[in-house]
Symmetry: C2
Subunit: 102 residues, 2 copies
């Protein structure tokens, strides 16, 4: 398996993060991750195919919103809450809380 | 002059707001508005043509991020801070503060 790229915290871009979050399915993924901590790929409750889900997870990973960790034949997905908070204080947290009422 | 459309606060969509903000020039416009209160169109300090600026202002208006008020032959632009805060608490505020360090 190819190593998965994650941007360094210093390289996180606000437009890229907002662009990654500007999608209803990706917001739902983020809300689930915020509720649960780490999630294995197949466990997301979103109404899309596995290949579409993989695409959305890649967009979020490449923007630095989440970290993907291979564990055997699975991948665990976690929000990069500390990195996002350090770089853009309050942004991911307020968006996560806004999803519930959006 | 045709009446300018502004979405009602109940109709604001989080993905649409994030999509409107996911652009470096539009973030710069928002930062200027946050600093200044109301701004007349020609006064924005952004490195784009007037027609491109008009496009960016339209995207932000249609997403509900700002309100445009015709005043004679000018248009005044203001952030809809209260509406955004009511609908998505903390989102516009944290993004506005993050722009300075982005």
């Amino acid at each position: 398996m190819r190593a998965l790229q994650h941007p360094d915290v210093e390289d996180l871009s606000l437009p890229a993060v907002l662009s990654a979050l500007a999608d209803p399915v990706r917001l739902r993924i983020v809300a689930e991750l915020a509720r649960s901590g780490g999630i294995v790929c197949g466990q997301f409750d979103v109404p899309v195919s596995m290949s579409t889900l993989s695409h959305h997870l890649k967009v979020l990973r490449e923007a630095g919103v989440l970290r993907v960790t291979p564990q055997g034949s699975y991948r665990t997905h976690e929000l990069r809450i500390a990195d996002m908070e350090r770089r853009f204080p309050g942004v991911l947290d307020s968006i996560t809380r806004a999803i519930a009422v959006a």
